[in-house]
């Protein structure tokens, strides 16, 4: 399992307005493209510099492609990254704080200690 790579996906998409919209409208295609083209990108470098070994597990890829924030929380993806990106994706479809409260309810079955977020 690669919590780091899950976080890298959430981080790189959340900071790019075009990728936020692309992930909202085409999660399957965006995750597939991102894993092929972006997962190995060394962020502070030219495209030719590549990390060779980073890839999602099947479960991680499926969770991202399903916009499944609950599973991401259970996997130990960084909750700030998941929350921030998913607010960007879905808050617009809801009333004030409605999405945030529903999000809390959706993960209410998780008891402490929460999944470890250390990477």
């Amino acid at each position: 399992m690669s919590k780091y790579l899950l976080n890298k996906f959430l981080y790189t998409v959340d900071r790019d307005p075009d990728l936020v919209e692309r992930y909202r409208t085409d999660p399957v295609g965006t995750v597939e493209w991102w894993e092929a083209e972006m997962a190995g990108k060394v962020l502070n470098s030219i495209d030719a510099e590549k990390t060779t070994w980073l890839k999602f597990t099947e479960a991680e890829r499926t969770a991202l492609q399903a916009h499944d924030n609950v599973t991401l929380f259970e996997m130990g993806a960084h909750p700030f990254l998941t929350l921030t990106l998913f607010i960007a994706l879905f808050e617009r479809d809801h009333g004030p704080l409605e999405y945030q409260k529903a999000y809390a309810q959706a993960v209410s079955h998780v008891t402490m200690p929460y999944p470890d977020i250390a990477t």
Partner: protein, 301 residues
């Protein structure tokens, strides 16, 4: 020599800017009370007449990332741009550019390294809402040069809580030894109990009001022993999964000094999290003169 004229610890709430500027139906019912409390808090900084602001905060995965994560980092640049696209998107925060005080940055780095803190540095730092929220609340003119200091309260493994207090004590000593004849205020922001992305987020109050009550008491009294005996990296998960931001309050307790009571304490119970505001005047209240010592200037409750 430099004079430390105010030590300020605060929560940083990214929704304040939008709430305080909203009008009509968009203005939340708690906005007026919040603005009133912020304006009173702001007056405690204004009265200290600072020339320079040392700003302690924590990057929220904006510039600092898991491929290269510093624990404590000091900005050293002539300017700092501020607020990122995703903060503009979620919180409505404006773009800002703040001047830097590079001489003080260099002094903190050199003296901090020599005092046992292996500080990282950045010569091109785009700061985030952990630094700009207190600029917006406490110095909205944004007219003073700053030294940003970032701590890692966000991406484990984190430094131990006692290191935050020790770094605060070191920052105090380093500022006291700065040879420039300038008035320095240190402003640091963190959180009380806070949950982000978990079951207890966005509730009617902060996730753990009892922790908040104890935390406010530790800070207001400068109670290092009480705080350190009840706070650990493990225990901070219990009040809420983002409560490690409380360690930035511990850093500010270190700047203010052990058992030094805050001259100004205020809180505001909001949805999602409690706000808390503290000011210390190391050389006495500016209103009451340099011999006022520990006399309280205002303690609204």
């Amino acid at each position: 020599m430099a004079e430390l004229v105010a030590v300020i610890a605060s929560t940083h709430h990214p929704f304040y800017y939008r709430a305080s500027t909203a009008t009509g139906e968009d203005r939340p019912p708690f906005a007026d009370e919040w603005v009133s409390k912020i304006e009173s808090f702001r007056a405690t900084l204004t009265a200290a007449r600072p020339d320079v602001l040392v700003m302690v905060g924590s990057d929220h995965f904006h510039q600092l990332w898991l491929d290269n994560m510093p624990q404590f980092l000091v900005g050293k640049a002539p300017f700092y741009d501020a607020n990122w696209y995703n903060e503009e998107r979620e919180f409505g925060l404006p773009k800002m550019t703040l001047a830097g005080q590079e001489d003080l940055s260099a002094h903190i780095l050199r003296q901090g390294l020599d005092a046992g803190f292996d500080l990282a540095f950045s010569n091109e730092l785009c700061i985030d809402h952990s630094v700009t929220c207190p600029i917006i609340t406490l110095r909205p003119e944004a007219d003073l040069p700053i030294v940003p200091i970032y701590t890692n309260i966000f991406a484990p493994p984190l430094p131990q809580p006692k290191r935050f207090i020790q770094l605060g004590e070191t920052i105090r000593q380093v500022i006291d030894s700065w040879p420039e004849n300038l008035r320095v205020a240190v402003i640091g922001t963190g959180h009380l109990s806070l949950e982000l992305g978990g079951p207890r987020q966005f509730g009617e109050h902060g996730p753990d009001p009892e922790f908040d009550r104890r935390a406010v008491d530790w800070i207001a009294k400068g109670d290092f022993d009480g705080c350190l005996s009840q706070v650990s990296l493990d225990s901070l998960h219990l009040p809420g999964n983002a409560t490690h931001g409380f360690m930035d309050f511990m850093l500010m307790m270190g700047v203010a000094g052990e058992n030094v009571k805050a001259d100004y304490v205020d809180t505001l119970d909001l949805f999602h999290t409690m706000e808390a505001y503290f000011t210390w005047y190391p050389n006495g209240s500016p209103q009451l003169g340099p011999t006022a010592g520990t006399t309280k200037t205002a303690v609204p409750r």
